[in-house]
Symmetry: D3
Subunit: 61 residues, 6 copies
């Protein structure tokens, strides 16, 4: 705790995810006072065809 | 917002998901007054072997 | 299964949620062939101050 | 209901998941008084590269 | 990791939740080989009026 | 999309959440190339008594 789930389209590299996870962890540590060791960030890669906005399929961005 | 997550067994086609997403979006627009552009529907395909009911594995339906 | 989670701002009545749940259930039954008895729809009411879009707090709609 | 989601690293066998699902179901039946038929346990397999703790990628355990 | 989310109707006591969390933790430790310290169990209490099965509101059990 | 869910103990102020949401949005915009308008951050406040680690209740931090 805190637990952070990030849902995004597949295609981001490990380096991109690592950079985001590092900054999310720093942000929560700084503003919420939680120790970094307690912060878990989990990424879910969504393939195209799984997200619909306004009833229409969204293409990968 | 609203955000809708639908977990179902894998095997449904894009056409089936699109039809469901369209109707969910229309229903929420009609009854909750949310604008369609704000409604996101996300499907998670579950493979067989991931769902257990009453402690027993459920086969794909 | 299928399981449907709907996150929306608090303030919708039980009648509104019931109408949405009924239509989501009918839609999934029709298009995905799942029996109605297996379809669970769960609503999560979000209070104002929990959703941020583009880094800005979204007011209840 | 109850619905139980278990996120864990990929690599566990169907037998391991079945054993865990059976014991979770028994535990909730015993302590919460819910009928076993209403208890659904869903496993999400996470590949390596999706979990970051303290800002660092966690290897599969 | 593993992370376990349990959604159930409100009304269970802290003692009931603690007993369930303890047994889930033991089960995952035994069958999946994960260290107990890495296992987090999170309960979400659902009020009546949030769960609909087969399109009908489910009363608290 | 991306959608970010943050689960943390209740007690953080709106200002703390806003600061975290702003930085998460900036981080994902910078590293994943997603437009800020598509990034939604949702906070779930967990009361004490809902999180158990290693089978033991965690107090609010």
């Amino acid at each position: 705790m805190p637990f952070v789930h990030v849902e995004l389209f597949e295609g981001r590299t490990l380096e991109q995810k690592a950079a985001i996870a590092k900054e999310i962890t720093e942000s929560i540590t700084k503003h919420a006072g939680a120790p970094a060791s307690a912060i878990n960030v989990i990424f879910t890669d969504l393939p195209e065809g799984t997200l619909f906005q306004a009833g229409e399929m969204r293409k990968k961005n």
